[in-house]
Symmetry: C2
Subunit: 156 residues, 2 copies
């Protein structure tokens, strides 16, 4: 998967600590935030020294957009979800990363944002591994999610 | 500016109440959030019945991406800025809209998100009109911002 454009890319240590690896897509490393309160993916473009969205080359921005769509479809397909939140903040972790979060109307932070919400509740390992396996199956091509799904899935 | 693809588009009343009109770009209505704590643009695609980012047709997603870049460059050019935050949440206002917010390391919510932060402090009208005029000059083509600028502008 690795190529010259990835030279010098290293995952920020805080992102590494707070998340679990799901997959490497074409552009992004896909991570699951280790917080059982919110099904929450983090997309990190595997490019060195990026901070802002518009640090990405144009073609990479288009790839990122495609992978955001894919992450949205994946969450919608795999977990209960009333709304998706997408954000690139980077106030704490400098390395460019995009959050894609499945929200429920009764979740712990609703209707506020998940960022800045009280400390993470780490998954129990079995639940985390099960969710990662479910996400990874799609991410590696097995049982691929449709690219587009109805918004409010009832099958979660 | 209006065309058939805009049929049925109406700005959400809460967005209308909380913001000031800046411009209509090709896809989006550009609004300034009426909160003097944060220089904060809101981009609303002028399409009816959109909720999620991926409700947008593919070509419109690419346009939105371009307009997010443009809003980032505009803020960076016109206001002091250490970091830009970009987000599409929609937990409160259902209509698809994208926030582009200029953050400072000493602003009222730093390093947390602006969403869910305590009530807005409305601009004094003169300051608001001055900022809108500054933004509008770029937005309508006069003194157009470079499409790409260094991240930490010192000339704000």
């Amino acid at each position: 998967m690795s190529d010259a454009s990835e030279a010098g890319f290293e995952l920020d240590p805080r992102l590494a600590r707070d998340t679990v690896f799901v997959a490497d897509w074409k552009l992004c490393r896909v991570l699951l935030m280790d917080d059982a309160q919110f099904p929450w993916l983090v997309l990190v473009p595997r490019r060195a020294h990026l901070v802002e969205l518009d640090d990405l080359a144009n073609a990479d921005q288009i790839s990122l957009l495609g992978e955001i769509n894919r992450a949205m479809a994946l969450l919608r397909w795999r977990v209960p979800c009333d709304k998706l939140n997408v954000g690139a903040l980077g106030n704490i972790v400098n390395q460019l990363h995009v959050h894609v979060v499945a929200r429920r109307r009764h979740d712990a932070a609703w209707p506020g944002p998940v960022w800045g919400h009280a400390p993470a509740h780490r998954y129990v390992p079995e639940a985390r591994d099960r969710l990662v396996a479910l996400l990874t199956r799609e991410a590696t091509g097995e049982g691929a999610a449709p690219t587009r799904l109805p918004h409010r899935s009832d099958d979660g």
